[in-house]
């Protein structure tokens, strides 16, 4: 499966400006937002507004190692070399089905958040006929449309509902490329993998350098109607110029504690900085990759414990920093992955692509706890909590029901229209 390119598609060269705006390139209309508005806008949308931080666990998170059904004998018989020993898990009680569960032993700080009641874990999230392909899976989760995962992203559609003009930093992608979930018709999404490197350099200094910056933006501000792909590139340059100064402000943020030096730690430090400096960002997208643990998942140098340490240390620091800054109630972190992994291990101390996984939410206003029920890992093909002849975990909660709650209960938008159907569920009142 090839990933598709997000950008201007095969548009007619004869299109009018209005056609282009209606149909065309998402990152294009920034040029229309009058710069004079931007300052007030940032103030209006900055501190005081709710922020969603999407944390994508890239590669297919092994949910059964993160949230361990440590009393299920099949968990140990089917995963003899990768199971987390019952004595090591961080016990967090039972779900409503009575299954006792424990967090991965490296998630000590995260367990503290759970104990405070600010971490919700939604078990067995997924969808019917789950794709085992990373790329198709990412598109399905990104569009929230398993039947036709080529549309704009679910968060991009949300951004499209915001009344213009929107802040140029209304969405903040911490990756180098914009994920499908954030592709939008009308809102440019800046990609800011490193706030420190997000600067304008010049071969000159002083006023000559300032002049170059002004001309670079002037050149990019042209909207060649008959050259939509050039307009798309120019709109990105223009958006970069419009966001440089605000991002520079974020880099001067002084957190209340020292963040881990890991990639995720530094990214979440930047997110806190953007929140604290009133960047006006409603949606952040951050990623922790490396979850495609086909091999060498456990052990002293195992991939999974390393990932859990990075996740735990970064999220714990972020949570504490936000609390110290008085911003905790403005943040909702939502974690997900494109699929869970097989119920049983493979021969390389790892496990292969599976179906349902888990999602989690945390933040100052989250109603924490265990949502949904764990699977029984009994390999009996008739076991209703598994699928694929007892090989993979079967979903219990459609991931779009979690999205729906985030949209309705946090972003204040209408999930039925954004998701194209009613996925709301009363029992998922985590926020």
């Amino acid at each position: 499966m090839e990933r598709r390119v997000f950008g201007p598609g095969g548009m007619s060269m004869a299109m009018t400006r209005r056609d282009f705006l209606r149909n065309g390139v998402g990152a294009f209309t920034i040029g229309l937002a009058a710069p004079a508005f931007l300052t007030e806008l940032a103030q209006a949308q900055g501190a005081g507004s709710r922020t969603l931080v999407v944390l994508y666990l890239g590669g297919g998170n092994d949910a059964l190692s993160m949230l361990v059904p440590y009393t299920d004998p099949y968990y140990y018989s089917r995963r003899p070399s990768i199971a987390i020993p019952a004595g090591d898990v961080l016990q967090i009680g039972s779900d409503r089905g009575g299954t006792q569960l424990g967090l991965h032993p490296r998630l000590t700080g995260v367990r503290g958040i759970f104990d405070e009641g600010r971490l919700g874990i939604i078990q067995r999230t997924g969808y019917e006929n789950s794709s085992r392909s990373h790329f198709l899976g990412q598109d399905i989760w990104g569009t929230a449309n398993p039947a036709s995962p080529q549309s704009k992203g679910w968060l991009g559609r949300y951004l499209d509902t915001l009344p213009p003009p929107v802040s140029p930093l209304v969405a903040w992608d911490a990756l180098r490329e914009v994920p499908r979930a954030l592709t939008s018709e009308t809102v440019p999404v800046p990609a800011i993998p490193s706030a420190a490197a997000y600067t304008f350099a010049s071969p000159n200094t002083g006023s000559e350098a300032a002049l170059e910056r002004a001309y670079a933006q002037r050149i990019a501000s042209h909207v060649p109607i008959d050259r939509p792909h050039l307009a798309f590139v120019n709109s990105n340059i223009d958006a970069a110029m419009n966001t440089l100064d605000k991002v520079a402000l974020v880099t001067r943020y002084v957190p209340s504690l020292t963040y881990p030096t890991s990639g995720l730690g530094q990214t979440l430090r930047t997110v806190a900085g953007a929140m604290a400096t009133g960047a006006g960002t409603r949606v952040f997208w951050v990623q922790l990759g490396g979850f495609d643990t086909h091999a060498s998942q456990v052990g002293a140098n195992g991939a999974y414990p390393r990932l859990m340490t990075e996740l735990n240390d970064a999220v714990t620091a972020f949570y504490a920093d936000l609390r110290n800054q008085g911003l905790l109630n403005q943040a909702l972190v939502m974690g997900f992955s494109e699929f869970g992994r097989r119920a049983y291990e493979n021969g390389s101390v790892g496990c292969d692509h599976g179906a349902a996984g888990l999602m989690f939410v945390l933040g100052g206003l989250v109603r924490g706890g265990l949502y949904g029920t764990a699977a029984s890992l009994n390999p009996d093909p008739k076991n209703p909590t598994l699928e694929n002849s007892g090989g993979d975990v079967r979903h219990e909660t459609d991931f779009r029901s979690v999205y729906a709650r985030v949209i309705d209960g946090w972003l204040g938008a209408d999930s039925v229209s954004l998701l194209g159907a009613d996925f709301r569920r009363q029992d998922l009142a985590f926020v």
């Binding site: 090839e2 990933r3 392909s133 010049s202 001309y215 050149i219 990105n236 340059i237 966001t243 390389s348």
Partner: protein, 484 residues
């Protein structure tokens, strides 16, 4: 002042990495048809580009300690960029990059398994320079990039870095490992829609025993190498939902384990021979060489798929036909491809100059442009086309342009001196030399206005030293220069 036929410049942007003034002269003198021959039949030129690394007159490299591209991955990245800038065989580097993206293997996972030095060897070592004669994955690709696709896939299936990347090293009959078998079908050949999950299971079993071994510790030059372990091979029959054999047979028969390697060869031979594979590869080559903005005409795909299938997946035939096609030559396809960061960087070095410049600075900026050589983001390779473009990515391109033009300020100013009399002549010189996609009037006027924005034009040396690098920065950093 550089001159050149537009069709030659187009050819060199696509089949190479742009052109330095000398290259442009060379290929222009050949004429278009002979230039294509020279690009495609590149074995007529010595493969000696690496010998010029560190020599005066060439772009520089920066090493911590001794420059060691066979064992240090950052040095391997520099060596490859050096080749892109200076190779007499630009199409070989271009095809190597194409297949590096296709068989997208990332150094970091190999390094996680075996450490930095062995991983760099497995990705980039030249056999003649490795103590054990190990050939790194990208060197294997480089040697085979215009041969038979079937041979290339087989080489990749046995490639040590690939055996780590897609976990083939763990694939045993007790515990079949699906990773390679799945991607062979999903990404390397026919693509999604032509196989089922049951084919994934069967393919995993086919490649059981295609593992890795380390030569004995007593070996003075140990290395990891492919090993077929008959004892780990699942010798039973494997049935697919698609035909494996020319007679339509869908079952790879049970074989003695000792003969079981033939299973994998049978499966690879089958999948590379599918019309769906031919059409998918041709479409990918179209996007890489001809256009990302215009879709390939059906007749083009039909014709090249036929060349592929009738030539036994001969890539030189396919690519040669593509470069000689009317579609490739058509000026409607000029500037219809978003440059990859590697293309952007190598082209701008060639066109702006490299006096005192080191490709190490390009390696650094390419991180933020979104392309780290030997480190594709995942097994599907890089997100291409508009996927390269983001605010951060454009800033990185602009900042690279700033860095490059700063280092070349003196030579650029002196090169344009004969045209310094008017700002229009200066602008015209650089538009010809850098050959970006055409500017519309508005952007052109802005470039022109920049030259006189801080004072009237005198053409003095001081003015040239400030304005010339600024102008080159603005051109190379503009949206027009993204397209090739």
């Amino acid at each position: 002042m550089a001159t050149g036929d537009e069709s030659i410049r187009h050819l060199l942007r696509r089949a190479g990495f742009g052109a330095s003034p000398d290259e442009l002269d060379y290929y222009s003198e050949l004429g278009r048809s002979a230039a294509v021959d020279a690009l495609v039949d590149y074995e007529q030129f010595d493969d000696d580009v690496d010998a010029y690394i560190g020599q005066p007159g060439y772009v520089g490299v920066t090493a911590r300690g001794a420059f060691s591209p066979n064992t240090v991955i950052n040095d391997a990245r520099q060596r490859w960029l050096f080749r892109m800038v200076h190779s007499a065989r630009p199409l070989q580097e271009k095809m190597t990059l194409f297949w590096h993206n296709h068989f997208a293997t990332a150094y970091s996972k190999v390094a996680g398994a075996y450490g930095a030095s062995d991983a760099a060897r497995m990705m980039a070592a030249k056999p003649g320079e490795d103590p054990a004669g190990l050939r790194g994955q990208v060197e294997t690709i480089r040697a085979m990039c215009m041969g038979s696709f079937r041979d290339l896939v087989i080489a990749m299936a046995k490639d040590p870095a690939m055996l780590v990347w897609l976990d083939g090293r763990f694939n045993t009959r007790q515990r079949p490992q699906e990773n390679f078998g799945r991607e062979l079908m999903e990404l390397f050949s026919m693509g999604v829609g032509f196989y089922t999950e049951s084919d994934v299971y069967a393919a995993a079993r086919v490649f059981t025993g295609w593992n890795l071994r380390r030569t004995a510790a007593a070996d003075p030059a140990p290395k990891y190498e492919f090993a077929y372990n008959a004892g780990s091979h699942d010798a039973s029959a494997k049935t697919f939902t698609f035909p494996i054999y020319p007679d339509g047979g869908r079952t790879i028969p049970a074989r003695a384990a000792g003969d079981g390697m033939q299973d994998g060869l049978d499966l690879i031979t089958a999948v590379v021979s599918f019309p769906a594979t031919a059409r998918r590869l041709v479409t990918r080559l179209w996007n890489y060489f001809v256009s990302e903005l215009n879709p390939p005409p059906e007749a083009f795909v039909d014709e090249l798929a036929q060349v592929y299938l009738s030539s036994g997946s001969n890539l030189r035939h396919v690519v040669g036909r593509l470069l000689r096609s009317a579609d490739f030559k058509s000026d409607a396809n000029y500037f219809t491809k978003y440059s990859w960061p590697a293309e952007f960087v190598a082209r701008s070095i060639k066109e702006v100059g490299w006096n005192g410049f080191t490709v190490n600075d390009a390696v650094g900026q390419m991180v933020n442009m979104g392309q780290v050589l030997y480190e594709p983001p995942d097994v599907a390779g890089w997100e291409q086309g508009a996927g390269w473009i983001s605010t951060g990515g454009m800033l990185a391109r602009m900042n690279f342009a700033a860095q490059l033009s700063r280092t070349q300020a003196a030579s650029l100013a002196s090169a344009v001196k004969p045209y310094a009399k008017t700002p229009d002549a200066v602008l015209s010189y650089f538009l010809d030399r850098l050959a970006p996609a055409p500017y519309d009037d508005g952007a052109y006027n802005d470039l022109r206005a920049y030259l006189t924005a801080s004072g009237s034009w005198t053409g003095s040396d001081a003015q040239l030293r400030a304005k010339v690098p600024g102008l080159v920065h603005l051109i190379v950093g503009s949206g027009e220069y993204v397209f090739i």
